[in-house]
């Protein structure tokens, strides 16, 4: 059974601090996705990681992929309140172009 596990599920951070969200998956998929969801909103695509060792950065967020360990990380640098949201990782169920299986999500709350 395909599984995608995220931790932590809830994260309360102070502004200016750094933290990492972890995503482990059981499939051999080489593509991993990170999405952001604000309350009451749909999913916003953050990163698509396509190969082992891939690293992508956008602002205060950096995502990486280790396909050998079946692990992706989403690192938050110097958190700000605007980053408060739920973050999901997901992988293709049967290879590229197929449906995604999602982790449970990490709800991030950044306070001053």
């Amino acid at each position: 059974e395909l599984k995608v596990e995220q931790n932590p599920l809830f994260l309360s951070m102070q502004e200016g601090k750094n933290y990492t969200i972890y995503c482990n998956y059981s499939t051999t998929s080489d593509r991993l996705y990170w999405y952001r969801q604000d309350p009451g909103k749909s999913l916003e695509s953050l990163f698509v990681l396509l190969s082992n060792g891939a690293v992508k950065q956008e602002g205060r967020l950096m995502a990486s992929l280790d396909t050998k360990a079946r692990l992706s990380t989403l690192h938050i640098t110097a958190a700000v309140h605007d980053l408060s949201a739920t973050y999901f990782c997901a992988v293709d169920t049967h290879g590229a172009g197929t449906a995604l299986i999602f982790g449970k999500g990490t709800t991030l709350s950044v306070s001053s």
Binding site: G40, S42, G97, T98, A99
Partner: protein, 111 residues
């Protein structure tokens, strides 16, 4: 990136009734997907909709409850049939062309 719209954006329905959700993509796409997001939960795949063939349903979802149409490469509908309060969720459609993009979702409340 594909732009996806859904109608309605939200609805409140009585138990026992049915609701059809429409999903429109601004470009032709091979694969479209329907997901459900129950309150406070992650996304669960309902089915994959390919144009010209029957939808493929995931375990726990059946065609009688969630009939899907895919008449062309830019449009799909999902019907939630004989609704009960347990069907209260956000229903999202998505398309996969390189990466997967999501519509804004339909927030359904069943009383």
């Amino acid at each position: 990136s594909a732009v996806i719209s859904q109608k309605p954006s939200r609805d409140i329905c009585q138990r026992g009734t049915s609701l059809t959700i429409q999903c429109q993509v601004d470009s032709q796409v091979t694969m479209m997907f329907w997901y459900r997001q129950q309150p406070g939960q992650s996304l669960t795949l309902i089915a994959t909709a390919n144009q010209g063939s029957e939808a493929t349903y995931e375990s726990g979802f059946v065609i009688d409850k969630f009939p899907i149409s895919r008449p062309n490469l830019t449009f799909s509908t999902l019907t939630v049939s004989n609704m009960s309060p347990e069907d209260s969720s956000i229903y999202l459609c998505s398309s996969q062309e390189g990466e997967q993009f999501f519509g804004p979702g339909t927030r359904l409340t069943v009383l």
